[in-house]
Amino acid sequence: MTLNTFKSAILSALFLATSLSGFANENSDTQEDKEFNAKDMIMHHVKDAHEFHIITLHEGKENQKDISIPLPIILWTDNGLVTFMSSEFHHDDTGHTIVEKNGMKFVKSHEKIYQLNAGEDAVEFDAEHHPTNAVTPLDFSITRNVFMMWVSILVLLLIFIGTARRYRKSEDNVPTGIAGFIEPLVVFVRDEIAKPMIGEKKYRRYMPYLLTVFFFIWINNIFGLIPILNGANLSGNIAFTMTLALFTFIITTFSGNKNYWKHIFWMPGVPVPMKIFLMPIELIGIFTKPISLMIRLFANITAGHIIILALMSLIFIFKTVAVAPVSVAFSLFIGIIEIVVTAIQAYIFTVLSALYFGMATEEEHH
């Protein structure tokens, strides 16, 4: 597949800039059979997948070899739980390879797993791309995003429990080693985010959530930028951002005090017609706040990935290696901006969450 070639091309471009002509030749060899589709390639990269693909060797030849980490597929079907490894699909994403488990037939097409109806051996779609002869079971698979999320929490636990141990070891609470690097970040979240947004009196309750969400988003943003792990675009996945936004929404709603609800349902200090007019607006506002959190993080991170990949695609769209220096230069430039964006987006998500908590717990001061 062309997009697999492309992946090897990205790796070569980023790590082995001197061999630019080498992969270009390889590309032109395989370019003849299939037209390069930038949109498919980019979508494949920013979306989730059921296996952790690393590289494809000898693309399009007889000894083609895919190197990937197989991940477990967990499905909840009408007949109960079904689990098998993604390697059983043999890297097929077109719905041709059928895996039989517990008398049920599964196929994978465009990273979606379908359970074929009895007697069928190929999935068919209608005009709206709904399967006509298959059902979609609930998919709890450990996809590459879930896998990367677990890698990221492993790293987080190592970093922060290591930091905590530093303090426990020292007698005088002086930060040494990794704690010297982590402490300013923690103090930053406390002094620049929690305290000004929530207030000196109540910020303490929300510190664990704010710290966790800040570092969780930040590290996953960074992981999304590492070229070889580029497949995992966790913080640019709407499911991920939706879940975190949902947590912020739940905490905000449950910490809302009398004053907060009064401001929503019966705005003080304005005439009665205005109160009635404002009520639905404020009511919608409760939901638009977390939705904006969800979309902001998702869109920013995904957009960054799409830009880098699109710049890289230029090489294959123009089918010339001459574009490569421009592509590499621009994607390097965007890459550096993206490094800044990783921290900024984590900061914005945390700061806005803190702001909503602050609004929910604000005392009456009129």
């Binding site: 990273e111 996809t143 879930v146 429990i161 303090y167 510190m207 966790t212 499911a239 879940t243």
Partner: protein, 164 residues
């Protein structure tokens, strides 16, 4: 459309993972880290306050020292003054005493002189009287004729002697 449709599996795993991460980090990371940071901040605050207190105490001590020194100085002054007064007084007393003693001695001397003088006078008178008697005897012996005249003379001589 797949891009903006949240996948149920990922939502499920994210929620579980995030909650686990939140609870583990809260217990094993945020609590110790924030606790240590706050402890240290508290320690710094306390150290600063105690340094300030020590400074104030030093100031107080300094002021106390100054005061004690001043007091001692004043006391010394007072003592010296007293001593000087006593000295002057003693000198004055001694002078007075000496004066009075001298006066007394002088008086005594004068009295003694006076009495000596009186005694001498009376002795002289007696002497003169004896002398006069002797003279008178002689006169009487030599000049018995002119007795009246001689007595008159003696008396007048006596009177002159007394007057002397």
């Amino acid at each position: 459309m797949d891009l903006i449709t949240p996948g149920f599996g990922l939502v499920f795993w994210t929620a579980i993972t995030f909650l686990c991460l939140l609870f583990i980090l809260r217990k094993f990371a945020w609590k110790p880290i924030l606790g240590a940071v706050e402890d240290r901040e508290e320690g710094i605050k306390k150290a600063l306050a105690s340094a300030e207190n020590a400074r104030k105490e030093m100031e107080n001590l300094h002021a106390d020292n100054e005061r004690i020194l001043n007091e001692a100085r004043a006391e010394r002054e007072a003592l010296l003054k007293e001593a000087r007064d006593i000295k002057t007084k003693m000198i004055a007393d001694a002078k007075d005493e000496a004066q009075s003693q001298a006066n007394k001695i002088i008086e005594q001397a004068q009295a003694a002189i006076e009495s000596e003088k009186k005694a001498a006078m009376s002795e002289l008178k007696n002497h003169v009287a004896t002398l006069s008697l002797e003279i008178a005897e002689k006169v009487v012996r030599e000049e018995l004729s002119n007795k009246d005249k001689q007595i008159q003379l003696v008396e007048s001589m006596l009177g002159e002697a007394i007057l002397n």
